[in-house]
């Protein structure tokens, strides 16, 4: 069984924070206030059903992408979520993770259609 806890070091590369696309992150902060409570502890990822079955996807990594504004990366993986809600139950900070995923999906759809977030 592959247990990727999301603590593996991400690949070395340069991230230009001046060009950081914060649209999606701000969008989520606006609609899911509890998202601000996240401390990236990784409990969600440890319990994630999809993370258990895939090499890459996990909700904590999505969070990192979100902060870095790598929206394309999120769009590539977000649809793997099965919406089971285990992450929400184990979250020690009470983040409404399912709503985060839903709003993320909605935001990405809007960005793809060049709509204002």
């Amino acid at each position: 069984m592959n247990q990727d806890w999301g603590y593996g070091i991400n690949k070395d590369r340069q991230i230009d924070f001046d060009r950081n696309d914060r649209r999606l992150a701000e969008y989520i902060r606006k609609y899911v206030p509890s998202y601000k409570l996240c401390i990236s502890c990784g409990a969600c990822t440890a319990t994630c059903s999809t993370a258990n079955l895939t090499d890459f996807y996990n909700i904590r990594r999505l969070n990192i992408f979100l902060m870095r504004g790598e929206i394309d990366e999120i769009a590539k993986h977000i649809d793997k979520c099965m919406f089971c809600g285990k992450c929400e139950l184990v979250c020690p900070r009470g983040v409404n993770t399912r709503q985060v995923i839903l709003i993320m999906k909605e935001g990405i759809k809007k960005i793809k259609q060049n709509e204002q977030l």
Binding site: L53, D79, K80, F83, G85, L89, V90, N96, R98, K105
Partner: protein
């Protein structure tokens, strides 16, 4: 008989407007109905189902049986208005037709009958005068109760009543005036000509004592006609549209038409059938525990009808099914919520990573479900029971596995759920099991309703009960007093109420709460509501605990891992799953080792 005066016009215009608007709508609905549904209507009309339709229309649209079940006084109010008015129309039509000896008289003949007919010498007049007055009194009692309900709704078992939109107000005010004005008009006429029954003649004679009835009569009939006309004009745009639409709904539902995953014209008919009675507001825990009335189904259907559905509102519902349980019209409220969600979200999914393994073959397939994996004590208890009973079983999702698809469905993503269902279904079928047992109420619901499995699906409470009944395990009874909480998906969702109770009664003593079976509360942990945050869910749960503790139980037992987890947060007494209770109460070595059971021995 001369039966025309200019004052019949408001009534006539109102009636014809109503008929034109309504039938134009019906024509449009039927025309754009999915082909399959139209065929069902065609077949249904020619079948015996038609008798059932007539019976249900009588019982629900006229007698309002389902409202009687919610509150008898509320039921009486609706019955007197609907059934009373119906009888007034039927008898009034009969009276005018018999008197005028004309079968095809105008629609206003019966309405303004008393104004035009003054002699009361006909042999049937006494009967009609009495009956019509009696019926008018019957309807007026309902109108009086309707006034009273505005002032003191609690008398009718309602804590909150619906907030009306403009057309509702217009319609309700004219409706409230119709019958008192009819009484007034008929009484004034009777004060002059003495052509009324006990009520109108009595009141008429009384009024004639001190009023110029001759001068007032004409005005009263004008007002009566205006009020009926106004009601008819407002009706198609107000909640009273449910009166004609519900008849259509009952027929179509009886013919087997449903709202499933898309919004069809049948769904539209359901939306128009909502009478906005507000019974769902009180039943909704979002209202009772959080004080938030907005998500209540009545307002949600309002937004669908006005085509102004907001994402926030459609996702802010726990899909617990309490509103649907008590809806007097029987609208599939939960489906409506999910269908709107489906319209709103991007339905992407990407489950290519799911690879079917080759599970071991066994007679019984045990599927724990995601939530059971988060509550390992239930899983352990189940394994213990399965082993104790010596069953031949395979643990399908031992290493986690994929989600059953129900949460995806609850989020409105039916397409994604379909993929998960397909994956899990293959896994289950590959195990060649005869019985599928799950310890998660959420999984059970979707297995039962959407998997279409050619094997017996049992919730662990049903399965263990079978084991106990067939003597495969014996359990000790303790004197512990416990309360059983019906999980939404198992109770209202799958109608499993008695099996868990019967099973528990073997092991402990059950005490009741005011919220058992169909009336059970949602624990608050719902996967259906995507908007609720941690604190709000906790608040709902705390409110539920208060109701659970009324009879001082020593323990709370539930049959859903998610309920267990949610209840644990605010627990004043221990919370346990039904499997844990049984696993602890199992007597040591009741069966021979290595004794393998055939499934028919375990479950019929």
């Amino acid at each position: 008989m001369n039966s025309f005066d200019i004052f019949v016009l408001p009534f006539a215009i109102g009636l014809y407007t109503l008929l034109i608007v309504f039938f134009a709508k019906v024509f449009d609905w039927i025309k754009h109905l999915p082909v399959g549904d139209r065929r069902k209507i065609g077949r249904g009309i020619r079948s015996r189902k038609l008798f059932g339709v007539v019976k249900e229309i009588f019982l629900e649209s006229l007698i309002h049986r389902r409202i009687f079940k919610v509150n008898p006084l509320l039921g009486y109010m609706h019955m007197s208005l609907a059934f009373g008015w119906f009888l007034l129309i039927v008898l009034g039509a009969a009276e005018s037709k018999i008197y005028g000896r004309d079968l095809l008289n105008t629609p206003w003949d019966p309405i303004f009958f008393k104004y035009f007919k003054h002699d009361t010498n006909e042999f049937h007049s006494a009967f009609f005068n009495f009956t019509m007055d009696f019926l008018l009194l019957f309807v007026l009692s309902g109108v009086f109760l309707a006034y009273l309900k505005r002032i003191y709704a609690r008398l009718f078992g309602l804590k909150k009543t619906t907030k009306h939109i403009f057309f509702d107000r217009l319609a309700i005010i004219s409706l409230w005036l119709i019958f008192p004005l009819r009484l007034l008009a008929e009484s004034l006429t009777s004060g002059i000509y003495h052509n009324g029954g006990f009520l109108t003649d009595g009141l008429g004679s009384f009024l004639a004592g001190f009023m110029p009835v001759g001068h007032l009569e004409y005005t009263a009939w004008w007002l009566y006609s205006l009020s009926v006309g106004a009601f008819f004009v407002a009706l198609p745009y107000s909640r009273y549209m449910h009166i004609p639409t519900e008849i259509l709904l009952i027929a179509m539902r009886r013919f087997g038409i449903k709202t499933t995953t898309t919004f069809t014209n049948f769904s539209q008919i359901e939306v128009y059938s909502c009478p906005r009675c507000g019974i769902c507001i009180d039943k909704c825990q979002m209202t009772s525990a959080l004080g938030n009335e907005k998500p209540a189904s009545v307002y949600f259907l309002n937004t669908i009808r006005a085509q102004k559905v907001k994402p926030g509102l459609s996702f802010d519902c726990m899909i617990c099914g309490r509103c649907e349980q008590y809806c007097p019209v029987g609208i599939s409220l939960m489906n409506h919520r999910l269908v709107q969600r489906n319209k709103l979200i991007s339905n992407g999914y990407n489950f290519q990573f799911l690879k079917n393994g080759i599970p071991e073959k066994a007679r019984i397939a045990y599927y724990a479900g995601c939530m059971t994996h988060l509550t390992p004590s239930i899983e352990k208890a189940m394994i213990k029971i399965l082993e104790k009973a010596g069953t031949d079983f395979v643990f399908i999702d031992k290493d986690g596995g994929a989600c059953c698809g129900r949460p995806m469905m609850l989020s409105g993503n039916f397409e994604g759920a379909e993929k998960l269902i397909e994956f899990n279904r293959n896994n289950i079928l590959k195990s060649c099991a005869d019985i599928l047992v799950t310890s998660c109420a959420i999984c059970y619901k979707v297995f039962k309703s959407n998997y279409d499995l050619p094997l017996k699906v049992l919730h662990h409470s049903e399965f263990i009960l079978e084991l106990v009944k067939s003597g495969k395990i014996n359990i000790n009874k303790s004197g512990l007093r416990a309360v059983y909480h019906d999980p939404c998906e198992l109770g209202r969702g799958s109608k499993v109420y008695e099996e868990p109770r019967e099973l528990l009664s073997h092991a402990l003593e059950l005490v009741s709460t005011g919220y058992d079976r169909e009336n059970a509360l949602c624990c608050g942990g719902s996967l259906g509501n995507i908007m609720l945050g941690y604190e709000e869910k906790n608040k709902i749960n705390a409110a539920v605990w208060k109701e659970m503790m009324v009879n001082d139980p020593e323990m709370l037992v539930t049959a859903c891992p998610l309920c267990k987890k949610t209840f644990n947060k605010n627990a004043p007494v221990p919370v346990r799953d039904i499997a844990e209770i049984i696993a602890d109460a199992v007597q040591i070595s009741p069966v021979k080792p290595n004794h393998q059971l055939a499934p028919e021995q375990i479950a019929g």
